[in-house]
Symmetry: C2
Subunit: 562 residues, 2 copies
Amino acid sequence: MRKKIIVIGGSAAGPKAAAKARRMDEFAEVTLFQKGADLSMASCGYPYFVGGFFDDRNKLLCTPTGVVRDPNFYWDAKEIVAKVNTEVTRINKQDKTVEFTDVVTGEKGTQEYDKLIIATGAKANLPPVKGVGLKGISTLQSMQDADYLRKIRDEGKVKKAVVVGGGLIGIETVEALHLAGIELTMVELLPQLLTFLDWKMAKLVENYLKTKANVITKNGVSEFLGKDGKLVGVKLQNGTELPCELAVIAIGVKPNIDLARDAGIKIGEMGGIVVDKYMQTSDEDIYAAGDCCEINNIITGKNVLAPYGDLANLEGRVAGENVIAGNKVTFPGTIQTGVCKLFDYGIGITGLSETKAKEAGFDFVKVVNASPDKPGFMDGKLLVTKLLADSKTGKILGAQCLGPGDVSKQLAIWATAIKGKLTVEDMVNADLPYAPPFSLAIDHSVASAHILQNKMKGVFTGISCMDVKEKLDAGADMYLLDVRGADEYEETRLGIGETLIPLGVLRKRLNELPKDKEKEIVAFCKISLRGYEAAVMLKAHGYTNVKVLEGGIMAWPFEKEK
Amino acid sequence: MRKKIIVIGGSAAGPKAAAKARRMDEFAEVTLFQKGADLSMASCGYPYFVGGFFDDRNKLLCTPTGVVRDPNFYWDAKEIVAKVNTEVTRINKQDKTVEFTDVVTGEKGTQEYDKLIIATGAKANLPPVKGVGLKGISTLQSMQDADYLRKIRDEGKVKKAVVVGGGLIGIETVEALHLAGIELTMVELLPQLLTFLDWKMAKLVENYLKTKANVITKNGVSEFLGKDGKLVGVKLQNGTELPCELAVIAIGVKPNIDLARDAGIKIGEMGGIVVDKYMQTSDEDIYAAGDCCEINNIITGKNVLAPYGDLANLEGRVAGENVIAGNKVTFPGTIQTGVCKLFDYGIGITGLSETKAKEAGFDFVKVVNASPDKPGFMDGKLLVTKLLADSKTGKILGAQCLGPGDVSKQLAIWATAIKGKLTVEDMVNADLPYAPPFSLAIDHSVASAHILQNKMKGVFTGISCMDVKEKLDAGADMYLLDVRGADEYEETRLGIGETLIPLGVLRKRLNELPKDKEKEIVAFCKISLRGYEAAVMLKAHGYTNVKVLEGGIMAWPFEKEK
Ligand SMILES: Cc1cc2nc3c(=O)[nH]c(=O)nc-3n(C[C@H](O)[C@H](O)[C@H](O)COP(=O)(O)OP(=O)(O)OC[C@H]3O[C@@H](n4cnc5c(N)ncnc54)[C@H](O)[C@@H]3O)c2cc1C
Ligand SMILES: Cc1cc2nc3c(=O)[nH]c(=O)nc-3n(C[C@H](O)[C@H](O)[C@H](O)COP(=O)(O)OP(=O)(O)OC[C@H]3O[C@@H](n4cnc5c(N)ncnc54)[C@H](O)[C@@H]3O)c2cc1C
Ligand SMILES: CC(C)(COP(=O)(O)OP(=O)(O)OC[C@H]1O[C@@H](n2cnc3c(N)ncnc32)[C@H](O)[C@@H]1OP(=O)(O)O)[C@@H](O)C(=O)NCCC(=O)NCCS
Ligand SMILES: CC(C)(COP(=O)(O)OP(=O)(O)OC[C@H]1O[C@@H](n2cnc3c(N)ncnc32)[C@H](O)[C@@H]1OP(=O)(O)O)[C@@H](O)C(=O)NCCC(=O)NCCS
Ligand SMILES: [Ca+2]
Ligand SMILES: [Ca+2]
C-alpha cells in the first residue's frame, strides 16, 4: 500500500517537506495543497523584485535553471500532485482526512492521509484602525502584493509613501520603494526600529536610514485617510498627517494556526503550533513546519516564533523525512539568526541581544567593536559589532552586526561559534581565512573577541555611549579624553566637553590630566583602539577610574558637534 | 627594576608582540630590532600595491588613520624603541644579550634582555639554478621587492614575465602583473598549482587561470637565460625557452632560524623554531612567534609550518603577554586556514585536504558541492566546495572552496565549525544569516552538509570526476545519464558518451535505461542536484549501482565537448 502524504501550504516549508518525502519514498502518494495560485514563492525576494534588482517575476518562482515550479513541474520532476488555488478548510484527525475547496470553482473535496504536514505559514498583521481597507494600502507578504508594488514602480506615478512598521520587512520595503523613486516615511510605534537589535544598534540603523527616508518613531498610525476610497494620507497618534498615495503595512506576522487549532492540535504560548524536535505536533500523524510553528530557542530553551525562510526549509526537510521513516531526524531549534540589507548596510543578529539575554536571566559581558572589515588599502568598510558572552563560562551568547562592511560573514562566524558553544577565549585565536581582499589580519570578529577578552580580564573597562550620554545629561563630572590626531579632531568631533590629547603625546602631557587620580576619565578615539591604549597607560600611571568609550566616535549614535 | 624585553623582527609577529608587551607593562623597556628600513609591513598587501589597487606605498606601512609606523610612531604611541636597519647577529643565551649591527653604518652593539622574542619570519626560497642572480629576477617577499615590481608596472616597459611557483604568492603575483598589462606564464614543477588543495580543486583553478595567463605544470626551471647581466628568458627542464624580461620566483618560504639555531635553541623537523603552547622556545627566557616557528596542527596534532599573517599576529600577541605575565595565555595551534584572490575567484582551504587527511590516517567521507552563493535573481555566483568529515564521528575535517562566489564566508563558516568540533549533522541544521542579497535560503555550506549527510546515510552514492574519467579512459562500461533539459544540453555538455533524459520525463522513460539493473549508472546535471534526485528515483526502481557525479558539470575539470 502506498503511503498517503498530504502537505498543506506551498511556499517554502511545504514544498521542501513534500520533496523530501518523495525522495524518501518513491512510491508514496504526495499531495500538496496551496491556497494561492503560485507555488514555491521566494518571498524573501519580493523586496528585490519591487526594488528593480530584476524584472522577471518568474525568477521568484523558478528553479536555478529557470523552470517555473508550477504543478506540471511538481508532477514531472517530483511526482507530487500540487493543487493550487485549493484551500484546506478542515482537518479531521479521527478519520485522517482533510477537506478542501477550490477557491476558483468553489468545488469541495475530501482526501485521506496517513501522515499530514501543516505548513500554512504566517499572515501579515494589520492595525485595527479606520481606513485600513482603502485602495493604496498593501502589505508585502504575497506574490500578489509584490506584483502590486512592482506595478507602482513601473507606473512611476506615486510620489509619496508611508511604510508602517520598522521591522525587517518594513526596512526592506523602504529600500525597495526608495529605489522606485518614491519619497518615503517610515513610521514605527516603538522607540526603535528592528526590535531584535538593542536600542543603540537600532539607533545607528535609524541614523543611516534618515539619509534616505523620513523616520518617525514612538508614534503609531491612528487612521488611514481616504478620498473616494483611495488613500490620501496617514494620520499618526500624535495628530500629524502625512500625505501619501501609498502605505505599506509591515507590523509583523502571525502564524496561520486556525486549521490546526480547530482540529484540536496544541497551540503554544507564542501563538504557533507546538512541535517536538521531530517536528511532530500533539497528534502523532500530524507534523508541522515553517512559520506556522513555534520552535525552541537553543540558547534560552524557550519557545519562540522564528519566521525565517532558511528555517522553514530546514524544518520542512526534517518533517518530510520523519513522515516517511518514522522519527529519525531532529530539528535542534533556532538561535534566531537574521540579516537584512538596507542600501549599503548589512544589519543582523545571531543569538541573544542584550535585552533578550537580560530577559532570559543571563549574567553576561558585552562589548561594542567598531572597525573595518578589510585593510584601508583594499577599501575596507566599517562594521559595528556588539558581542555578548556569558560572564562565567565566556560562552558566546549573541552578536549584532551592522554597517557597510561584510556583515553577513561576521554573523555567519558568530552563528557557527554559538552552534559550537565556543567561548571568547576560543575565538581569540580563531584561525580564519585571511587575505587583504577579504579581511584584516586580525579579523573584525577576532578583534571583537580580543576586546571582550580584555574586558573580562579587567584590562579594558568600557563604558557605553548611552551611559556616557546619560551621565553627561545628569551633569556628571567626567574627564573626557579624545586621543586622536588634531587633524581628525578638526574633521569630526563629539563636542561633549572633551579634551584633545593625541595618544602620541599623552605620556609627555600626563600633567594636564586631572590632579585627582580617582576622577572618572573616559578615553576614546575614532573606534576606541587608541582610546584603549590610552586607558591602559593611564591606569599604569595611577589613574584608578579610567574607562574606554566603547566603539568610539564611530559607534556614537547621538548628535555630534561636527 | 624595569623589565627588559627585546624583540627581533619588525613586520607582523614582532611588532604585535612588542605592542602587547607594552600594554601589559607600561614601564618595561621594549626594544624592537629590524634588519630592514621599514616596520610593520603589510606584506600580504604587496600584490595589491603591485597590481595597482592603490598607489601610495605608505598604505602598506601605516595605521588605519594614516600614520606611518616608523620609529617615531613606535616611540610616541607605544614607547617602543624600534631600531631599523639593525640586524641582530647573535643571541647569547648565557649572559642574556643580543649582538647587533647597524647595516648602514656597520656600527655594532650589545644589549641585555630579561625576555627575548624571536620573530625573524621567513625568507623566500630560490631555485639553485644558473642565472638566478640576473637583473630582472625578483621575489615578492619584501617592501623592496614590492617597490621594484610596482616600478615595472608604472614604467610599462616589460611585456612578458614568468612567475615561477604556483603557490599562494605566485598566484597573487600573476594577477598583479597581469593587471600591469604584462603577458604572464606561470611555471610549476609539480603536477598542480596550490598544493594545499586536492588535485581536482587545483585543476579548476588552473582552468580558470588559463583564461588569463599561460600555465605550465610538471616542469621546473633549469636555467635563467641572460644577456649583459639581464634576464632574457627562462629555460625549462624539458628544454622549452620562454622569452621574458621579468621573472618572479615564488617557490615557498623557509623559516629564518639561523640566529636561533646558532644559539642552541631547538629547531623542529619542519625546519622551524619549536615552541610550546605559550610560544616559549627550548630556552625559558626566549619566545618565538610568526613565520620562524613551527606550530601545532590542531586536527592532526603534528607540527607544521603555517606562514600566515593572521597567525603571526595572534602568536605575537600570546608571546607579548607571556613575556610579561609569565605563561598565562596559550596559542592553541592552527587549522591552516588560508585564502587568496585570483581575479574574480576566491580560493582557499581550512582544515585538511583529502591528501593531508590520508597522510594523517583519517578514515573520512567527502563530497563536492557546486552551487551558487545567492539566488539567481540576486546575481548568485558559483561556489565549488569539497568537504571532508570523519567517517565515524562525522566531525568536519576540512573544507576547500573556490569560485566567483563568496568563498571567504564559506571558509570562515567551516573554520569556525572545525574550531567548534562540529559534525555534519550539526551543520545540517545550522541557523545562518539568510537574506537573498547574502545567501541562498539553504546556504551553500548547509547544502554541502546535506549532501554529505546523504552520502553518510547511503542515500547519495557519489563518484568523483576523476574516478569517472579514469574508468572511461580504461574503457569501463558505464551508463552515463545527463538529466538536464535539452536546451542546457545544447549549450554545454561533457560529450563522454552520455545519454540525455531530462529529470522531468525520466519516470516515463525508465524503459530506455539498461535492462541490466546491476549496471553502473552515473547520473548528473549541471551541479548534480537533479542528478541526485534521478539517482534516488532509479534506486527505488531497482537499479542497484547508481552513482551521482559529484559537483556535476560545474565541477568537471577536464575537457568538455561543448
Ligand atoms: C517580504 C519578505 C521578506 C522576507 N525576507 C526574509 C529573509 O530575508 N530571510 C528569511 O530568513 N526570511 C525572510 N522572510 C520570511 C520567509 O519568507 C518565511 O519565513 C517563509 O516564507 C516561511 O515559509 P512557510 O512555507 O512556512 O510559510 P509561507 O511562506 O507563509 O507559506 C505558507 C503557504 O501556505 C498557504 N496556506 C495557508 N493556509 C492554507 C490552507 N488552509 N490551505 C492551503 N494553503 C494554505 C499560504 O497561502 C502560503 O502560500 C521574508 C518574508 C517576506 C514576506
Ligand atoms: C606577497 C605576500 C603575500 C602574502 N599574503 C598573505 C595572505 O594573504 N594571508 C596570510 O595570512 N599571509 C600572507 N602572507 C604571509 C604573511 O605576510 C606572513 O605570514 C607574515 O608577514 C609573517 O610575519 P612575521 O612577522 O612572522 O615575519 P616576516 O613578515 O617575515 O617579518 C620578519 C622580519 O624580521 C626581520 N629579521 C629577520 N632576521 C632578523 C635579524 N636577525 N635581525 C633583525 N631583523 C630580522 C626581517 O627582515 C623581517 O622584516 C603573505 C606574504 C607575502 C610575502
Ligand atoms: C526548492 C523546494 C521546492 C524544495 O525542493 P527540493 O527538492 O528539496 O530542492 P532543493 O534544491 O532544496 O534540494 C534538492 C536536494 O538536492 C540536494 N542538493 C542540493 N544541492 C546539491 C548538489 N550540488 N549536489 C547534489 N545534491 C544537491 C539537497 O540536499 C536536497 O536533498 P535532501 O533534502 O534530500 O538532502 C522548496 O524549498 C521551495 O519551494 N523553495 C522555494 C521557496 C522558498 O524557499 N522560500 C523561502 C525563502 S525565500
Ligand atoms: C599593528 C601592529 C603594530 C600591532 O600593534 P597593536 O598595538 O597590537 O595594534 P592593533 O591595532 O592590532 O591592536 C591594538 C589593541 O587594540 C585592541 N583593539 C582593536 N580594535 C579595537 C577597538 N575597536 N576598540 C578597542 N580596542 C581595540 C586590540 O585588541 C589590541 O589590544 P590587545 O592586543 O591588548 O587585545 C602589528 O601587528 C603590525 O605591525 N601589523 C602590521 C603588519 C602585519 O600585520 N603584517 C601581516 C599581515 S599583512
Ligand atoms: Ca537564519
Ligand atoms: Ca588563517
